[in-house]
Subunit: 596 residues, 2 copies
């Protein structure tokens, strides 16, 4: 089915659902609201639900527990659960992540996780078990309240970080509210918020609507505007004589356009580069792929190729500071075309409603005639190269290239804010490997919770190993979630870069200040402490030098990832990938701390 | 200085500060805004600051690092830091807790901690390091933003959980804004929120205002209303022929009225009882103290004494579900007088503006004539009694009385939501022991962070040991903060009640459901894993039966708390204090889960 047809089909279904909401459905088969919600989630490919029990969601948890297609994960805390739902959604393309918390105490703990999903455009549903509809009216001084009768304060706070909210209180509208909130979540790729009062969970409603599936297909583009845009871009490419470069970015991944982009590149032969947040939007072993473009921090060879092209087509761009070398793109508007999820920019002109998912297939068709010319444009090879260093110390300059020989196709690679997010940019990943990072929101500790969700999703979708890179500072924020990985039988490889503190902060400011120090944990005893009654096999290693790391990576048993493993990597406190050093300097300047 | 005089002195100072804001102070000695803030905090008795570094607060952290009177704690994550600030404020009467976070990612993670302080009336200042004033105007797509230019979303969300907010952006008003936010915090005993942009930290302002201290003294009571209230209460006590019972509750502690209450009780001889949240508001070895009143869940002997008194005077009451046996007070309004921080209720009449801190000394004077009668009213002894049980298993029924023999004067006892919060109610604590719990907000995991703050405050104020009681479920939410206790050389005794999951939830609903299960950690290896490079001495124990626990408690070295210690206490998954069993049943009913 073409993207366009999918859009039309989705529109028909949405209209049918609207119609149905207005028709009597008293004769239809009944289903409880709790089960209606779960059935919708299962239809959308959700097989795991994150969160914690709390007395206002226990009734719904009974329903979850009894529901065959969705597994209750049971996290250690709500922030971690939010991160896990985010990681899960990032891997399960087209589906969403779901977190269930309890009124007040639970939901507020998850807020940073949800806000991160908002910022980074990840579809997450936050279900909050609340006091009953009666209690919400009579407002008794219940535990988990603010003590002043404001039962709506939490939802007001949450509304800043979700694009759609539904507060269930009426069985007549519940199904529609659930459908609307889910549709918003999957079409806009942003968090949504749903309150489920204790007394609504088991109320029976009609199951009729469940026959019509929900769709994440975007609306069709306005026909005439789209035609105009196609003509315009065609003309511009002609004027550029096919000297075009494509930059892929975060929203290609978030709005499910990987396939459309792949086909566009194949048909046109245009060279392609990725931003940090767009890494793995295009397979990094694709022969026309040249590596990472990040403004002034770009490798000079790539920078020259990108910025000197006569025309640059950005797809799904997200121009945040850490994604652009601190806003240092050197691409003038008159040579720039930007395809976004809901609009298109051609030089100075903006075309609202023309979204990339439907536009790309037509654009491929229009521009394929340039293939013979464009496919001859030289693309620098983005290859693995291990630098020779005399010192035995593990440096970032050596570490990431060395790891690149360890990665396999379909690996899921999760990197934490800090040295890992920058280091991974320097090396190519194998075909169908997926990289997950949180470059815009940049909340330290996110990667640990996210790794849990990603590993579950990877297992559900038949991906390969899950590999986490996290610093010793960041992992301390969310460390308990490793216990849930163990309990769920997941087998990630967790590289803990032990550089004695917050290295990214040291580089930005306060290099030797004690506020950037942390406690030096006993990392190799961590899995033992967090194990579930010593039932699960684990392994932990410390590597102090290049040789020890290389030997470990070359060990077939280690590489097979047949158990959960922690590798403590000893690194220097001030060593970092060059791109981070330069980014940190720019960030520090922007913050104008004043006298030191 | 009498309370009244303190009120007048505070009012004079506030007027002077107002005056000064209108006068030119260009000739005054300069001080940076960062140092102004810290000086104010030091004046208010703050010696520790909680939080995490983030690039928007690093400049201010330099100032903190260089400031001699305030120690930077450096937590593992922001939620824990919020809990720690809460625990610190609870112990340091008259002072406040302070947490410093960074824009977005940091501050949102702390939100549940702050909301808990709001609910429970704890004075906490949340300082947020934000982008510079210029960036806040130009709104670049910075990391830690939502990607849509809404730089004010976080502060809007925070405003639901603070009673006063100040967003610094102008040097002319900065000092006054800081003073106002701090005054609101300490007088209303609630959280406040302050944003500190990177470029404001080192801006010089006048230090003139620092000469006038800030005060937490409440405003004077309106003279004539107060006189009327005193007459009225005097009359009611006469009619009751001195048959009066006093109930002390949370706000006695929160609004710093312990001394006034103590004197009131001594002068009048009235019998006194405490609610769960009011425990230790009055010394539990005071001869006229009879134990805990918690509505229908009360020990029948106490219940009869309280509810049959002709007049009941509640001081600082907070009538939440868990504090009242699910709203089961049997005290008719016509026999009830309530003294609150800002108003007084005499039977059906409400007297706004008449606050207890100023009223109590006058009331003591008025009612002391009843001492000869009232001091003869019998008060049931609240004594330690160890029940005999044949079984070796450690039960709650035995555990808490056994522990009561272990407690010493001036111990700080922190209890977690769940079995601990209820179990501790059954036993009396020694003189000047302080109990800290979060009964209204009830966020599980809170006690671990709070214990860190409480232990620091205890050390600063010369209290005795800090003893934490927490379940194996709750501690998993916030466990990493134990690492900070170790690093800071604190020596709490941590009792982990290992009952294999969320026992309080099991009692409310889902007794055998797997969503109430958790991973079974290796608790005795925890301190080793979280230690700081194995530098600090620690000790861990598992006690499987009564004998092992008793032997440990009787060990002088253990009891001396000369190092940090973990005691894993093996208990049955479904065992709980009787009052929790009954409360859970009532809560479950209120939640009307529908069919199981």
């Amino acid at each position: 089915m073409s993207t366009d047809t999918a859009s039309l089909k989705a529109e028909v279904d949405r209209l049918r659902l609207d119609l149905q909401a207005l028709q009597a459905t008293s004769g239809a088969k009944g289903i409880s609201i709790g089960n209606y919600l779960l059935t919708r989630l299962a239809q959308l490919g959700v097989n795991s639900m994150f969160g914690l029990p709390g007395d206002f969601n226990l009734g719904f948890l009974d329903v979850v527990d009894d529901f065959p297609d969705i597994d209750w994960v049971g996290n250690c805390n709500e922030l971690n659960a939010g991160y896990a739902a985010d990681g899960y959604a990032r891997i399960k393309a087209g589906s969403l992540g779901v977190i269930l918390t309890t009124f007040g105490v639970g939901e507020l703990s998850a807020m940073n996780g949800i806000a991160g999903a908002f910022s980074e455009m990840v579809p997450v549903l936050h279900i909050v078990g609340t006091p009953s509809t009666i209690q919400q009216k009579t407002k008794p001084l219940l535990h988990h309240t603010l003590g002043d009768g404001r039962f709506d304060a939490y939802r007001h706070a949450a509304s800043h970080f979700s694009i759609h909210n539904a507060y269930l209180s009426d069985k007549a509208t519940a199904a529609r509210q659930i459908d609307d909130v889910l549709t918003a979540c999957i079409t806009k790729a942003r968090p949504v918020y749903l309150t489920l009062p204790t007394d609504m969970v088991n109320v029976e409603i009609s199951s009729e609507r469940l026959k019509i599936p929900l769709s994440n297909a975007p609306a069709s583009n306005p026909e005439q505007t789209e035609e105009f845009v196609l003509d315009l871009i065609d003309q511009r490419v002609k004027e550029a004589e096919g000297d075009v470069v494509v930059i892929v970015d975060a929203c290609v991944i978030r709005h499910g356009c990987r396939e459309e982009v792949k086909d566009f590149l194949k048909q046109t032969g245009f060279p392609v580069y990725a931003t940090p947040m767009g890494k793995t939007a295009v397979d990094e072993n694709y022969k026309r792929y040249g590596g990472i473009y990040v403004g002034s921090l770009t490798n000079p060879v790539i920078k020259e190729k990108v910025e000197n092209a006569k025309l640059i087509i950005s797809i799904g761009s997200l121009l945040s500071d850490f994604n652009t070398g601190n806003f240092s793109y050197n691409i003038p508007t008159r040579r720039h075309i930007e395809l976004h999820s809901g609009h298109t920019l051609v030089q100075y002109g903006r075309f609202d409603g023309v979204g990339m998912k439907n536009l790309l297939p037509k654009l491929s068709d229009r521009l394929k005639s340039f293939h013979s010319v464009s496919s001859k444009i030289e693309v620098p090879a983005f290859i693995k190269e291990l630098p020779h260093e005399d010192s035995a110390i593990i440096t970032h300059k050596w570490f990431w290239p060395r790891l690149s020989f360890f990665f396999k196709p379909k690996d899921v690679i999760v990197t934490e804010t800090g040295t890992s997010n920058f280091g991974i940019l320097d090396v190519p990943l194998p075909a169908n490997a997926v990289m997950v990072s949180q470059i815009l929101w940049g909340s330290i500790g996110w990667s640990v919770g996210s790794c849990l969700g990603a590993a579950l999703a990877a297992r559900e979708t038949g991906l390969n190993r899950t590999i986490l890179f996290v610093g010793d500072g960041s992992i301390q924020l969310t460390v308990q979630e490793i216990s849930v990985m163990i309990r769920k039988g997941l087998k990630p490889i967790i590289f803990i870069l032990n550089n004695k503190g917050y290295t990214i902060e040291r580089l930005i400011h306060g290099k030797h200040r004690k506020y950037n120090d942390i406690a030096d944990w006993n990392w190799t005893s961590l899995l033992n402490t967090l194990n579930d009654g010593n039932k699960i096999e684990t392994a932990s290693y410390t590597v102090n030098n290049k040789r020890e790391l290389s030997d470990l990576l070359d060990d077939a048993s280690f590489a097979s990832a047949d158990k959960i493993q922690v590798v403590e990597v000893i690194m220097d406190a001030l060593d970092a990938p060059l791109s981070l050093v330069r980014q940190a300097e720019l960030t520090g300047k922007g913050n104008t701390y004043g006298k030191p």
